[in-house]
Amino acid sequence: MMKSATVFVIFLFFCILFLLMFRSSLILQTRSLPEILFASTWNPDNKQFGLGAIIIGTILVTGIALLIAIPISLFSAIYISEYAPTKIKRIIRPFLDVLAGVPSVVYGLCAFLFLVPLVKDVIAPWFNIQSTGLCIFSAALILAVMVFPIIISLCVETFTAIPLSLKEASLSIGATKWETVKKVVFRASSPSIIAAILLGFGRAFGETIAVNMVIGGIPRIPNSVFSPGETLASLIASKYGELMSIPIHESALMLVALILFLVVFMFNIFGVIILRRAKKRWNY
């Protein structure tokens, strides 16, 4: 029974994969994959299905979000696990769990009401750029906020799981606390940190509704991070409702979904390989 349940879950994976491949085959019959991936004009009315500009937007949003999220999350995780008094630790953890569980549409709404005016009136003028606030940078900021709790709680868990004897050994030969964190805690938990970051990447890459509400929705190659853009996930969300009645449009969107699916899948495999190798090397 348990085995069959597992088999069912694996079947589900292939079901989704084959469905997406089957439904996106129509557009691949009319044009080649590189043509779709690198052409930059998305205009379904003129039969142009270039995803170039949208892929650039996706990379920018995800990349900036992770650049902001990784250092902040790592530092707060170290503080929580190594430096914070137990009392504070006990208060912070439930807050993090709640933050991780807040529906993304709530994040999107907050971003629309507070982040967009902030970017428009304060942050973009710093760089001497005019922006509407509905831009790639706003989307990256809210994504970073959404990724924090995931990376932090995973890191805190691994940091606290490191055997005390390891740290004690380091401290006893005269290393300071910060040196111990840097040389022992970080090293010993590096595979888990990478796994946490990859999980964060998965969330950032696939996040749809919050991004959709603040990114500006223009599928053109951006001038700067304060230009409006579009990501693969938000493209599907905004176009699916009205376009699915025309087969070639539907097929194009299915191809976008297939790309999302495959990228996330590959990064997960990548993460598993890193974890395994590191575990072998560190022998635990």
Partner: protein
Amino acid sequence: MQQKNRCIFFHTTKKYFLPATFVIALVSMLLFSGCTTKKENTIKIEGAFALTPMMEKWALEYRKIHPDIIIDINANGAGAGMANALLGLADIGMVSREVNNTEIQRGAFWVSVVKDAVVATINARNPVLSTILEKGITKQQLRDIFITGNISTWGQLIGNSSITDKIIVYTRSDSCGAAETWANYLGPYKQNDLGAHVDLDRISAVNGDNTLAATIQREQFGIGYNNIGYVYTKKIDASTVVPADDLIPVPIDLNNNGILDDEEKFYSNRMSLIHAINNNIYPSPPARALHLVTLHNFSGITKDFVRWILTEGQQYVLDTGYVPLSQEFINEQLRYLEEGTRPELS
């Protein structure tokens, strides 16, 4: 030996029975989703957000006369409504845009039941508001703002070079009837042409009618467009509905004489705008008909419901905030409904 073999076979089947059932159910759901068993007294309606409030009112009133009929309404966008109507999953699809040729080839049949309109909107703190309210904006100027991007500042719009505030153009990121209709008014354009040549620092798109209205409400230099239902939201008394705070509908200089004549000033409340649409003073598009779509032809109780909408149902249109159709137009739609064909299809 025989016995043993059968046993193994039986064992294996049992083991994989549960997942196999799930998978078969899932696959058949995905592949044969076109075939459903239809309940006799249920009308299933799906589609455009623009038409949903009206349909809910109609369903409510119709069920007072026919309490035995169940009307199931689901707002999921014009495209989804169209797709499900063509697959036979929904009896009626609500569609707020023109019917595409591909859809006609797949057997789409439709009648128009009510009208709606799109207006351009600006912020109440717009730097040249008084001039715009006095002179209006011509169609060519709107085209230069939304499509070509040639007019880039509010000063340039009214011919005063000392005002250098840039025009921020807002459009919709989700595919929608409102954008399609607005682009159609400006010329032979589609939604994707809106803002296609506007500088990237002056343009953004937002998701949804209400979000666009909210954005213009706080963006001093912005211009956007909305279905009238999302502009006229402030109720003064039982019959007067005016534009929401900080949201100003852009008056169009219809005869291009450079001044807003008295007969072109009908934006103060919803009723006067509806009156202008009804008398074809406000152009169409951006006024547009909303359609009910089905595969090949309406039949049975569904046909009866659509017939009721086109006759008695019309009395609820004004109060719900939509524009009634002219009697001539209704007669035409009734004829299409009875004959099961329309000129576009032949």
